[in-house]
C-alpha cells in the first residue's frame, strides 16, 4: 500500500502551531454531554422494570411496589373474557410454573392460546398478576409465524 500514502493536503497545515480548543466550546460540549448522561441516568433509574421469568417472580420480594415484566406462553383453554368489566383473564406458563393474569385494554391481534406474551404490571405475591400492558410476540416482518 506504500505508493498511495501521500498526505499532500495535510503537509502545509501540520507546520502551523496548534491553538488551544476554545473554552466556550469545551463548556458547551460538557454541558450537552452532561445533560445527555443525566437524562439517561435519571430515566433509567425511574423507568427500569425487572424482566423476570415466572419462577423468579414467585420469589420476588420487591414486586409489590415495583412494576415488573413477565414472559410466558398462554395456556390452552385458559383465556376468559369478562364483558362486564371489559377485562380478560388467562394463565401463562414458563418452566412448568403457571401464573394467572388479569388484563383490561387493547388485546393484540395475534393473542391466542400458545403464543408467547410479555405482561407488565404489579404482583402482590398472591392472586392474579395485574397487567397494565400486554405484548404478544409479533411475527417478524421477515419470517412466517407458523414455523416453529
Amino acid at each position: 500500500m506504500q505508493p498511495a500514502l501521500t498526505v499532500s493536503i495535510e503537509k502545509s497545515v501540520a507546520a502551523r502551531p496548534r491553538k488551544r480548543f476554545p473554552l466556550s466550546f469545551l463548556l458547551a460540549g460538557i454541558a450537552i454531554l452532561g445533560a445527555v448522561l443525566y437524562l439517561v441516568y435519571a430515566n433509567t433509574q425511574a423507568n427500569a422494570v425487572y424482566y423476570m421469568t415466572v419462577p423468579e417472580l414467585k420469589h420476588c420480594t420487591t414486586c409489590t411496589t415495583q412494576s415488573v415484566r413477565v414472559a410466558g406462553y398462554v395456556q390452552a383453554g385458559s383465556i376468559k373474557r369478562d364483558d362486564r368489566t371489559q377485562s380478560i383473564s388467562f394463565v401463562i406458563e414458563d418452566s412448568h410454573q403457571t401464573l394467572a393474569v388479569i388484563y383490561s385494554g387493547v388485546v393484540p391481534d395475534i393473542f391466542r392460546a400458545g403464543v408467547q406474551v410479555v405482561v407488565e404490571g404489579h404482583y402482590i405475591g398472591k392472586g392474579p398478576f395485574q397487567a397494565q400492558t400486554l405484548l404478544a410476540k409479533c411475527p417478524s416482518k421477515f419470517q412466517s409465524a407458523s414455523l416453529k
Partner: protein, 717 residues
C-alpha cells in the same frame, strides 16, 4: 443436489452441465423443471445455488485484484476488478431471478418457497415473499449491495482514481461475507426430498401493501450505508481526504439517508395502519436498530459541511460513517440473534454468531486503520466562536450522537443490567420519551438558529436582527396555546419551539426572496431561483420544515390522544371528543381464501352525519386462529378517528376500541417533506461555474466549493 457436487472444483463443470441440460432439454416440459432423457431433474433453484457460489468466487477475486492493482499501481488490474464486480452483480441478479421464478412457479420443493408462500397468495405477495424470510432477505441484501456497487463502478469517473480500488475492495469484502452466509448456513435454495403440495403461506399481518415496500426499503437503507463506509476505508488507506472525496461520500450518504428515512416512515405507517394499537412508534429494539444508523448518518451529513467550508472535524467525519455501518450490522445481529427480547420474534438461528464475528472484524479493521491515520489528520483551521455556524453544527452533532447513545443504551439495557447487577431489566417507552423529549426540543431550537448564524463568528446584534421576528411569533404562540386548550407545559414548550423554528426558516426564505426581488425578480421566480441555485441549502430547509411538522404530529399524538372501549349492540352509540359513532351491524363476506367481518358505523360530528366507517377483521384460511385487523381511519382536518374491531359476536354486536389521534396526519406530511427534501439535495446538479484555480482555494479566504460560489459572490457584493 448433494453437498459434494457443490464443492468448488465441481462447480464449473456442474454449472456448464446444468446450463447445457437446460438448453438440451428445453425449459418447456413443466415450465419449472426440465426432465432429461436420463432422468435427472434440474430446477431453477439449482441454477440459483450455482450462481451464488460463482458470485462468491468472483467477489473474492475482486477484493484481491483490486488491492493488488492499487498497491502495484497497475490500472489494468483495477479495470479487471471493475469488470469482475459487474460479474458478481450479474450472478446475484441471476440467483435472485432463480428465486423469483421458484416462487412464481410454486416450486415447493425449495424449503424457503414452501415456508413463505402458498398457492392462494396473489402473485405480488408471492413475489414479495422473496424477502419475507431470513434467507431471502439476506439474498436481497447481497443483491442490493452488488447493484449499488455496480452503480458506483459505472459512475466512478468522478471519484478520485486512487480511491476507486479500495472502495471496490471494501464493498466486495462485505459482499463476500454475505455470500459466505448465503452459500453455507442460510441458503435460500436448499431443497427437500419430497415437495409438499402447498406452502405455509405468509403471515396475514404481512399481507399488506406495506409489506411490498417497507422491508425492502429498510434493508436497502441498511445496505446503502456500506458505500460511505467503503469511502472512509479508502480514504484512510490512501490518505486522500480532500473535497472530491467529501463530495462523493456526501452524495452517497444523502442517498442512503433518504432511503433509510423512507424505510423508517413506511414502517411507522405500516404499524399505524395494520397493528391496531393506535400508535406508529413503540421504541421496540427492532425499530431502534433501524433508527440508530439513521441518527449517525444525519449527524454526518451536517458535520461534512463543516469540513467542506472550514476544513475541520476531519477525524470525526471518518468516525461517523464507520459507526453508521457498524450500527447497521449490529442491527441485523441484534434482531437475528435473539440476545435482546423484542416483540418482533424472529426465527433464531446461528447466523447471529456470523454477524457478531463480522461486526467484530469490521470494528477491529476500521479501528486499526483509524489509529493509523489519526496522527496525520489535522484541521485546516481552528474554531473561533461558539456563536457560529460550525458551533451550531457541533452542537447538532453532539445532540444527535447523544440521542443515538441513549437509544443504544435503552436497547442494550437488558444486557447491561444483566451484566452489572445479575438481574435482567428493561426500559420501555417512558424512558425514551423522557430522554428524547428535551434533546429533541434543543435540536429543533438549534435548527431554527443555525441557518441565521454566519461561519466563523456572528455578532449578537446581527443575530438579534434575524431572530426578533421568530421570537415574537413564538412568544405569541406560547400565550395563545393555553387559550386553545393546550394546558400541558411540556406540550406548550414543544409547540412553541416548533413555531419558532418554522417561522425562523420561512423568514430566512422570505429575506432571500426579498433580496432577489430588489434586483428585479418577481417573488415566485425568486423562490424558484433560490431553490435552483442553492440546492443543498434550500433542500436542507425543506427537510428541516418536514421534521418540524413531524415533531408537531408527534407532540399531538403523544399528549392529546384520547381512547375508549365500547361494546355496542345494533343501534347503540358511543361518543368520544365530540364524535358520535352509531353502530349499525356487522357485514360478513366469505371468499375462497378468507372471510371478512366488518362492523358498520356512522360518524356524527356537530349534529351532521360525516360518513361511514368500517373496522373489521380478516380470517385467512391458513391462519384461522389469527384474525388480521382492518383498521379504519377517517381523517377530519388534522385529527384521525382510528377504530379497531376488538371482538364481535354474530352480526349484531361489536366490541370496538376508538382512538382520537390529533395531528397524526402531520407526521406523514412532515415525513413526505423530509423525503422530498432529501431527494432534492441529492439530485445531480449541473456545474456551471468553472473556477480559474482548480482547487478553488485562495490562501486568505475560506474555501468555496463550486456550487457555493454564486452565493459567495453575492454575499461579497
Amino acid at each position: 443436489m448433494t453437498k459434494s457436487a457443490l464443492a468448488p472444483e465441481n462447480v464449473g463443470t456442474q454449472f456448464i452441465a446444468s446450463v447445457s441440460q437446460f438448453i438440451a432439454c428445453g425449459v418447456g416440459t413443466r415450465f419449472i423443471t426440465s426432465v432429461c432423457k436420463n432422468g435427472t431433474t434440474v430446477y431453477f433453484s439449482d441454477l440459483g445455488s450455482i450462481a451464488l457460489i460463482l458470485a462468491l468466487g468472483f467477489a473474492l477475486y475482486t477484493v484481491v485484484i483490486a488491492v493488488l492493482g492499487a498497491v502495484r499501481a497497475q490500472p489494468q488490474l483495477v479495470i479487471s476488478a471493475k469488470r469482475s464486480l459487474l460479474v458478481v452483480t450479474f450472478f446475484l441478479l441471476l440467483a435472485s431471478a432463480a428465486l423469483v421464478v421458484s416462487f412464481l412457479t410454486h416450486d415447493f420443493g425449495v424449503n424457503y418457497v414452501a415456508q413463505t408462500s402458498s398457492r392462494a397468495m396473489p402473485w405480488y405477495f408471492t413475489t414479495a415473499a422473496f424477502y419475507g424470510g431470513q434467507q431471502g432477505s439476506l439474498l436481497y441484501w447481497a443483491l442490493i449491495l452488488s447493484l449499488f456497487s455496480a452503480i458506483f463502478v459505472l459512475t466512478s469517473r468522478r471519484t478520485p482514481v486512487a480511491l476507486v480500488p479500495y472502495v471496490i475492495a471494501t464493498l466486495m469484502g462485505i459482499e463476500t461475507f454475505f455470500l459466505i452466509v448465503l452459500t453455507s448456513v442460510s441458503n435460500p435454495f436448499v431443497r427437500s426430498a419430497v415437495a409438499p403440495p402447498d406452502g405455509a403461506g405468509l403471515n396475514p399481518l404481512l399481507m399488506d401493501p406495506g409489506m411490498l415496500i417497507h422491508p425492502p426499503m429498510l434493508l436497502m437503507g441498511y445496505v446503502s450505508f456500506s458505500l460511505p463506509f467503503a469511502f472512509v476505508v479508502a480514504a484512510m488507506i490512501t490518505g486522500k481526504l480532500n473535497n472530491e472525496w467529501l463530495r462523493a461520500i456526501r452524495r452517497w450518504t444523502l442517498a442512503a439517508w433518504t432511503i433509510q428515512t423512507t424505510g423508517l416512515i413506511l414502517g411507522a405507517w405500516w404499524a399505524y395502519h395494520v397493528l391496531g394499537w393506535g400508535g406508529y412508534w413503540s421504541w421496540d429494539p427492532v425499530e431502534n436498530a433501524a433508527l440508530l444508523p439513521w441518527l449517525t448518518a444525519t449527524a454526518f451529513l451536517h458535520s461534512t459541511m463543516v469540513q467542506e467550508r472550514r476544513g475541520m472535524l476531519k477525524v470525526w467525519n471518518l468516525f461517523l460513517p464507520i459507526a453508521t455501518f457498524a450500527l447497521s450490522i449490529f442491527g441485523t445481529f441484534e434482531v437475528r440473534s435473539g440476545v435482546i427480547s423484542s416483540v418482533h420474534s424472529f426465527a433464531y438461528s446461528n447466523i447471529g454468531a456470523y454477524f457478531l464475528t463480522f461486526l467484530a472484524i469490521v470494528i477491529a479493521f476500521s479501528s486499526a486503520l483509524f489509529l493509523f491515520r489519526l496522527p496525520k489528520v489535522r484541521p485546516d483551521q481552528e474554531f473561533d466562536s461558539i456563536l457560529s455556524r460550525e458551533g451550531i453544527f457541533l452542537l447538532n452533532n453532539l445532540l444527535l450522537t447523544g440521542i443515538a447513545f441513549a437509544t443504544l443504551w435503552g436497547t442494550l439495557f437488558p444486557l447491561i443490567s444483566a451484566f452489572m447487577r445479575g438481574q435482567t431489566m428493561t426500559v420501555g417507552a417512558p424512558f425514551y420519551d423522557n430522554v428524547m423529549g428535551p434533546l429533541l426540543v434543543v435540536l429543533i431550537l438549534a435548527m431554527g438558529i443555525g441557518p441565521l448564524l454566519a461561519w466563523r463568528r456572528t455578532s449578537l446584534t446581527a443575530l438579534w436582527r434575524n431572530l426578533s421576528v421568530p421570537i415574537v411569533i413564538a412568544a405569541l404562540c406560547a400565550v395563545i396555546l393555553p387559550l386553545l386548550g393546550v394546558i400541558d407545559i411540556a406540550a406548550n414548550i414543544g409547540f412553541t419551539v416548533c413555531a419558532f423554528t418554522a417561522v425562523a426558516m420561512l423568514y430566512e426564505l422570505w429575506r432571500g426572496m426579498r433580496v432577489r426581488h430588489a434586483h428585479g425578480e418577481a417573488y415566485a421566480i425568486a423562490l424558484v431561483m433560490l431553490f435552483k441555485r442553492y440546492r443543498q441549502r434550500y433542500g436542507g430547509y425543506v427537510v428541516h420544515l418536514g421534521l418540524v411538522l413531524l415533531v408537531v404530529g408527534m407532540i399531538g399524538s403523544h399528549y392529546f390522544q384520547l381512547q375508549r372501549d365500547a361494546v355496542l349492540n345494533q343501534g347503540q352509540d358511543t361518543q368520544l371528543a365530540g364524535y358520535r359513532l352509531t353502530y349499525l351491524g356487522n357485514i360478513d363476506t366469505k371468499e375462497p381464501d378468507k372471510e371478512t367481518i366488518t362492523a358498520q358505523l356512522q360518524i356524527w360530528h356537530d349534529g351532521q352525519l360525516q360518513g361511514y366507517i368500517y373496522p373489521g377483521r380478516v380470517i385467512y384460511r391458513n391462519y384461522g386462529n389469527q384474525p388480521a385487523s382492518l383498521i379504519s381511519i377517517t381523517t377530519f382536518g388534522a385529527t384521525d378517528l382510528y377504530i379497531y374491531l376488538e371482538n364481535w359476536s354474530g352480526l349484531s354486536q361489536a366490541d370496538i376500541h376508538v382512538f382520537v389521534n390529533p395531528l397524526v396526519p402531520f407526521v406523514w406530511y412532515g415525513a413526505l417533506l423530509m423525503i422530498i427534501g432529501g431527494v432534492f439535495c441529492w439530485w445531480p446538479e449541473r456545474r456551471r461555474v468553472v473556477l480559474p484555480h482548480p482547487q478553488g482555494r485562495d490562501k486568505s479566504g475560506p474555501y468555496i466549493s463550486r456550487n457555493k460560489l454564486p452565493e459567495y459572490i453575492e454575499s461579497k457584493a
